[in-house]
Every structure is written in structure tokens, then in C-alpha cells.
Symmetry: C2
Subunit: 119 residues, 2 copies
């Protein structure tokens, strides 16, 4: 593979809530996503999920607390834990998670992206 | 777990070439390391390894080419591929790799760190 430049990859898309695959290793994907607004409450039964903020701010609501992240900060949402990502302003994140993760987890609705684009 | 702030974690250590574990998910570790100078040629037989540059510049020598990375860029070294990380000046990196990875891979010498510190 070639080196991946985060800024360059983020410049290639504008859609919100449509994660793009930028690398694969050890059965995991590295994904980039632009977020704005509130997503949907969901969980991933078998996968832990890492959200790192590259630009902006992200709030991850859990049932019992709220995680606030800014640039250079990440959080791992353990498998089975309900979460709701919310970005008041546009936010850019890097995700690290197993290839099997579906963006909306146990929920399927209009936000679900079954097939992810690779950049 | 709590959110992880990269700057805060990097402020907690000064040693070079001693990766610190800052998170665990899906059988993988997220590690932080400060690098300066040349490491040793090695490979990981069964593990792909992601190097992301958080601060400074990193050169990863492969047998057939050289990868130059700066802040916000990453590279995945496939399993079985010989590599030599070199940082002319101090460089801070984030690593994603399976928990089984030994820093010097197939080589054991004075640079090998058998037990990693958790921050």
C-alpha cells in the first residue's frame, strides 16, 4: 500500500455519516468519516469501536454519561454499549474497528451504509 | 475506559523506542512511542503494523523503497515485510497492531521490550 495522508483523504468527500475505508490490517479497518448533527442510538454486539477526532469536536452519548472529544483525543466504545455520536458542528473522525462493523450496529435504517467506499 | 488525549499521554514519558499501551480493543493495542535515531531491521511474521505520525517526521526503510511520513500521515507495514524505522529528529507516533506484536519482531536484542508499560 501507499502512505495515507488524512487531510488528502478528507478532501475527497463531503458526505456526512458515510465512513470511507482508508486501510485494512489484521482483520480491522481504518475508516474516515465526516459527522454533523446527531446519528442514531445503536450498539455493536461483538465489536469495540475507536473514535478519534481529527478535526472539530464530537460528543458521544452513552446511557450513563457523555464523552466529549476534541482534536487529538479518542475513545473506545466497548462492544455491547449503546452510544449516540453527536457533532454540533462538522467534525472529522478516524475510526479503527473490525471489518465486520456496520455503522448503525444493531439498528438498520436510512442511515445504514451496507457497502463502504474505499478511498 | 476514559477518553485518551494524545498530548497528555505523550507528556508522561520521555524514553525513545519504548512503546506505551494507551488502549486495547478487539485483540489489538493502540500504542504511543517517541522515536529518535535508527531502530533495527526486523519484521513481524504474523502481524500488520500501522505507524501514524503525530509529531515530527518518520522514515520507514523497506528493502525496496523508502516511506517518508509527516504529521497526519500513516503507513501499514504488512506482515513479513522487513522494515527499519528512522527518525532524524524526535518523532511521536501512534501504533495500531495486534497485542502479540513484539517491538523488534523476529529480532531479539537490547532494543527488545518484552513487557510494555500502560499509560
Amino acid at each position: 500500500m501507499n502512505p495515507v495522508d488524512l487531510s488528502e483523504k478528507f478532501s475527497l468527500f463531503d458526505e456526512f455519516w458515510k465512513p470511507k475505508i482508508v486501510a485494512e490490517l489484521n482483520g480491522q479497518y481504518v475508516k474516515l468519516a465526516k459527522l454533523k448533527g446527531a446519528f442514531v442510538w445503536h450498539q455493536h454486539e461483538h465489536e469495540d469501536e475507536l473514535f478519534m477526532v481529527v478535526k472539530g469536536r464530537l460528543t458521544i452519548q452513552l446511557r450513563d454519561r457523555v464523552i466529549d472529544l476534541t482534536e487529538g483525543q479518542f475513545f473506545v466504545i466497548p462492544r455491547g454499549v449503546d452510544h449516540l455520536p453527536v457533532a454540533e458542528e462538522e467534525c472529522h473522525v478516524m475510526l479503527f474497528e473490525p471489518k465486520t462493523v456496520l455503522n448503525t450496529g444493531n439498528v438498520k435504517n436510512e442511515r445504514t451504509v451496507e457497502t463502504l467506499e474505499r478511498l
